[in-house]
């Protein structure tokens, strides 16, 4: 299988040159993950080997057919699980457990149903024993930023799916992470909400200057939001392509009408189509 295959970059005209020296936020080197199959001695090769360097402040998306190991990749990067081989670093240090400065937004709703919106968002800070005034400042800011101010006293059961994901994002935001990992956060939402949430995510990214890794199965979402898109093969997942979009930092959902968007999209699908067909063909449900 092909490993990294950097295409001839089609750098875009709107790109602004970066002022900071290029620095790695996190790296994965030779990371693989094997799982033990239930009831048999066989090992199940889920992921890798993966080599990836996330540059500071970039927005990186991962797309791939279902079952290719995208979530496993995120788990390894976040320190939620140990890779079977290879190494993971965050800000130059080896990852053991979840490092300070990493925030994760999960695919499912992780808001705590027994707390209202305000308490949900401030939960992590309260647990860390942060000073009350600082907690208030950060929570108010996050609620304002995510448009949740009017719902501070509401409980997750009273909110829509999109709102609940916003609560989860706000809960991550208050910890001021330097790396934000999102695992298909908008998967359960309808298309229109997704597009708007995408804009919000970009806003968040610019505000916090964090590095963002987004896992999504929606190509257009990846194409629109990212600086770079990593295309993974079918299981065991490897990066078969990393596409540079070259978008300007100040982008929003309106770039979907540009011809360049169409090119990126087409490019992603070209690589992904073959891999997805493999998954369909081998599916034995």
């Amino acid at each position: 299988m092909t490993v990294l295959n950097r295409p001839v970059p089609l750098k875009i005209l709107e790109a602004l040159p970066s002022q900071e020296p290029e620095e790695a936020q996190a790296t994965l080197t030779g990371v693989t993950r094997y799982f033990k199959k239930n009831g048999s001695k066989e090992l199940f090769h889920a992921l890798g080997p993966i080599d990836l360097t996330l540059m500071k402040g970039e927005f990186f998306s991962v797309v791939g057919p279902s079952g290719c190991g995208k979530s496993t990749l995120l788990d390894a990067l976040a320190g939620l699980s140990e890779p079977s081989s290879g190494s993971v670093t965050f800000e130059g240090r080896a990852v053991k457990g979840v490092p300070d400065g990493v925030g994760v937004v999960f695919q499912e709703d992780a808001s705590f149903p027994w707390l209202n919106v305000h308490d949900n968002i401030s939960f992590g800070l309260r647990m860390a024993g942060m000073d009350g005034a600082e907690i208030k400042r950060r929570t108010d800011y996050a609620m304002g930023f995510m448009g949740l101010k009017d719902f501070a006293g509401a409980y997750p059961a009273q909110l829509s799916g999109g709102m609940r994901q916003r609560v989860c994002i706000a809960r991550t935001l208050v910890t001021q992470p330097r790396l934000i990992l999102l695992d298909e956060p908008f998967g359960a939402l309808d298309q229109q909400t997704r597009l708007l949430m995408g804009d919000e995510l970009l806003r968040l990214w610019r505000e916090t200057s964090a590095t963002v890794l987004l896992i999504t199965h929606a190509l257009d979402e990846a194409a629109m939001l990212s600086d770079r898109v990593g295309v993974m093969s079918a299981r065991p997942g490897l990066f078969i392509d990393i596409v540079e979009t070259g978008w300007a930092r100040s982008r929003d959902s309106r770039i979907v009408s540009t011809p360049r968007f169409g090119e990126v999209n087409a490019r992603l699908w070209e690589m992904l189509r073959v891999e997805s067909m493999k998954v369909m063909g081998t599916a034995t449900h």
């Binding site: 939620l80 979840v98 994760v104």
Partner: protein
């Protein structure tokens, strides 16, 4: 108010059947609803009744506290580990369906007659449902909560106190509802044959005297008490389930 109407009809029907049964078998075998009620009201005014009732209440209270604390603790311990949960469940189910009366002589030999034996009976009955409900709630807890607490880098004790327990709280209340009834049952049965005090004892002594009025009055009192407590816990459950 519509949904109070039908159950009310049912209650009236039950009382009516009771009256008919009374008329069929005679006053010596079954007192009428009215005489039972008057007997109960009269009984509530006597010192003897209340001293027995407080006996039972003491045993019940103690047994509940122990069953609740023990059940939650063991439930958490068995539930967090995947293997222990799977191993323990059939054993617990088996113990649950065992007629616990069979162990009563053992309890009496260990605790002797008196309060501690009664409390032991109560705990024997109530511990397992609370344990099982807690354990299963933890096993079925959405894993994303644990992953969220990992990403927030919470230490273990905080994860259990601030994430796991609040998450399984509604199920613990359900278990408590069942555990409450069973603990009450255990305490009463204990009093029925191995005590000189308490409402259960009141029942058996009345039975030995053939005093059907007292039997039914006490039974009525216990029924109303049990229904009241169950109703309160049910309300609490419903409020929690709105999450």
């Amino acid at each position: 108010m519509k949904n109070y109407f039908d159950p009310l009809i049912v209650a009236i029907v039950i009382v009516a059947c009771w009256q008919v049964l009374h008329l069929t078998v005679g006053d010596g075998s079954l007192s009428s609803p009215w005489s039972t009620l008057t007997e109960l009201v009269h009984m509530l005014g006597t010192q003897a009744f209340w001293s027995n009732a407080t006996e039972t209440a003491k045993a019940l209270g103690l047994a509940l506290v122990i069953a609740l604390a023990g059940g939650i603790l063991l439930g958490v311990l068995l539930g967090v580990n995947r293997v222990s949960g799977v191993v323990a469940e059939p054993i617990l189910l088996n113990l649950y369906s065992l007629p616990k009366v069979t162990l009563y002589p053992l309890v009496l030999l260990v605790f002797g007659l008196g309060l501690s034996a009664k409390v032991a009976f109560g705990v024997m009955h109530g511990l397992i449902p609370i344990l099982m409900f807690t354990m299963n709630a933890i096993r079925q807890m959405r894993p994303v909560y644990l992953r969220a607490s990992l990403t927030m880098r919470l230490p273990l004790h905080r994860t259990i106190l601030h994430v796991v327990l609040p998450a399984v709280f509604p199920e613990i209340v359900s278990g408590l509802r069942l555990g409450f009834s069973l603990t009450l049952l255990g305490v009463l049965i204990g009093e029925m044959f191995a005590s000189q005090r308490g409402l259960g004892y009141l029942l058996t002594s009345a039975m030995n005297l053939g005093d059907i009025r007292t039997i039914m009055a006490v039974a009525l009192f216990l029924t109303l008490f049990a229904l009241l407590c169950n109703g309160l816990l049910l309300m609490a459950n419903r409020r929690l389930n709105h999450r």
